[in-house]
């Protein structure tokens, strides 16, 4: 049966996915370094996974990855696959180790999720390099320049996660806040 609430929820999700994708491609990536290393969709997806719903985060990550992949030279499916794998690992760690949903666990899971996502991309790049279809050698992928980009990305993502945490804590009661 048709429900306006469900319809609006789906519409809101589509809008969020499109906004995150275009904000990433047409705004953030064109900012001067190091600000162009920031990835808005990653902290959003990790936050939703940890605090709101793992299921929703998986679908969001899947669809977001597909849209980003259309605009990327990366092999189609790689970005979605990297996001899904990092979400699965983050969820596993959340359910078995970082169960208290505090700010610290959010930050650590965000860092680990981001690193797993980046590692997946480097691995996929290397696999394609081995098969001679572009990609990068490991030495290029793990160069100090690339690693410094990863550090900046982690730093920005942590800031966003902290921001989301306090905003959500202010408006909702689902998470337990622990001050630094």
């Amino acid at each position: 049966m048709f429900s306006w609430k469900k319809f609006l929820k789906i519409l809101g999700t589509i809008f969020l996915i499109a906004f995150l994708a275009f904000f990433e491609i047409s705004f953030i990536s064109l900012l001067p370094a190091p600000f162009n290393h920031f990835s808005l969709f990653l902290p959003v997806i990790f936050f939703i996974s940890i605090v709101v719903s793992y299921r929703q985060a998986l679908w969001l990550g899947f669809l977001e990855g597909i849209i980003l992949n259309i605009f990327s030279v990366f092999p189609f499916g790689s970005i979605s696959l990297s996001i899904i794998i990092s979400l699965v690992v983050v969820n596993f760690l959340l359910n078995n180790f970082f169960t208290n949903k505090s700010l610290y666990s959010l930050i650590i899971l965000g860092i680990l999720g981001n690193l797993i996502y980046l590692f997946n991309l480097i691995l996929i790049k290397f696999i394609f390099f081995l098969f001679g279809i572009g990609g990068n050698d490991v030495s290029e992928a793990l160069s100090p320049f690339v690693l410094s980009e990863s550090l900046w990305q982690n730093a920005f993502n942590i800031l966003m996660l902290i921001l989301f945490f306090y905003i959500f804590n202010f408006w909702g009661k689902k998470i337990k806040a622990l001050f630094l």
Binding site: I66, V73, S80
Partner: protein, 265 residues
């Protein structure tokens, strides 16, 4: 139990992804992708335009010293332009005498920049694709004719260009300087930070501020597209080839509109 169900969703999504990959590479998804891009490209262009306007607000004002340097360079270019015009007239006169007509080998297609690849930040996305005649390897110039990249990936409605500072960019070039011998070499990007010219034979007379332009030896790459200016020449003893550092003439980050060079043949 709950986490096992959710991990099943992860596997289902990976399986769904695999199906989508197969459908995409077999071309089944192309019409849907085309419609999707047609609908969303204007949004990307608008956001990019907004970003450029914001950048413009924060741009520093030019200093007096910089102004004088630009004025001096402008004067030098005016003189050079006059000499070139003279050469052009002589060239046309000679062609007329020889009844030689050179057909236009290339045409230019204007494209707007939508944004950057979310993973490879040295790759820019253009709002024109194979439907407009673009193919991989086609060169791209800025509105004032400086080489700013090459097409690296083409879809129906969009294409991706790589800038000269990226590691995967390379093209055959010649040096246009004080010497009449145009030294040949190869330019390659350096991890997004700069451009290096390699395979410069030892003993070649190249100097700082010499212009580097395409030599026309590469397929679909016209001759004479300026890549940059030499800032440093590195020569080592007991080495066959030297290298030089090339500085681009334009800032690739400030590009909003480019021209793709399409061969006519």
């Amino acid at each position: 139990m709950q986490s096992r169900i959710f991990n099943k969703l992860g596997l289902v999504l990976i399986f769904l992804l695999l199906i989508l990959v197969i459908l995409r590479y077999s071309g089944v998804l192309s019409p849907i992708e085309g419609l999707f891009l047609k609908a969303l490209n204007p949004i990307g262009t608008s956001i990019y335009g907004l970003e450029q306007k914001i950048k413009g607000i924060w741009a520093k004002e030019i200093s007096r010293e910089d102004y004088e340097k630009i004025k001096e360079e402008n004067n030098r270019l005016i003189v050079e332009n006059i000499k070139l015009n003279i050469l052009k007239e002589e060239n046309e006169e000679l062609r007329g005498i020889l009844n030689f007509t050179k057909p236009d080998q290339y045409k230019f297609l204007t494209a707007e920049i939508l944004g950057r690849d979310p993973i490879f930040l040295n790759y820019f996305i253009l709002n024109k694709g194979s439907d407009d005649g673009i193919k991989d390897g086609f060169p791209i110039v800025s509105p004032n004719g400086v080489l700013v990249g090459k097409i690296i990936k083409t879809e129906k409605k969009i294409s991706t260009m790589i800038v000269p500072t990226d590691t995967n960019f390379e093209t055959a070039v010649s040096v246009f300087g004080q010497s009449d011998n145009h030294t040949s070499g190869l330019v390659r990007g350096e991890r997004g930070l700069g451009i290096k010219m390699e395979f410069i034979r030892q003993g070649e007379n190249i100097n700082k501020d010499d212009l580097v332009a395409t030599s026309g030896l590469e397929f679909n790459m016209p001759k004479g597209l300026v890549v940059g200016r030499i800032v440093e020449v590195e020569k080592e003893d007991k080495v066959i080839f030297g290298t030089a550092t090339v500085s681009p003439l334009v800032s690739y980050e400030n590009l909003s509109m480019v021209m793709v060079i399409l061969p006519q043949f």
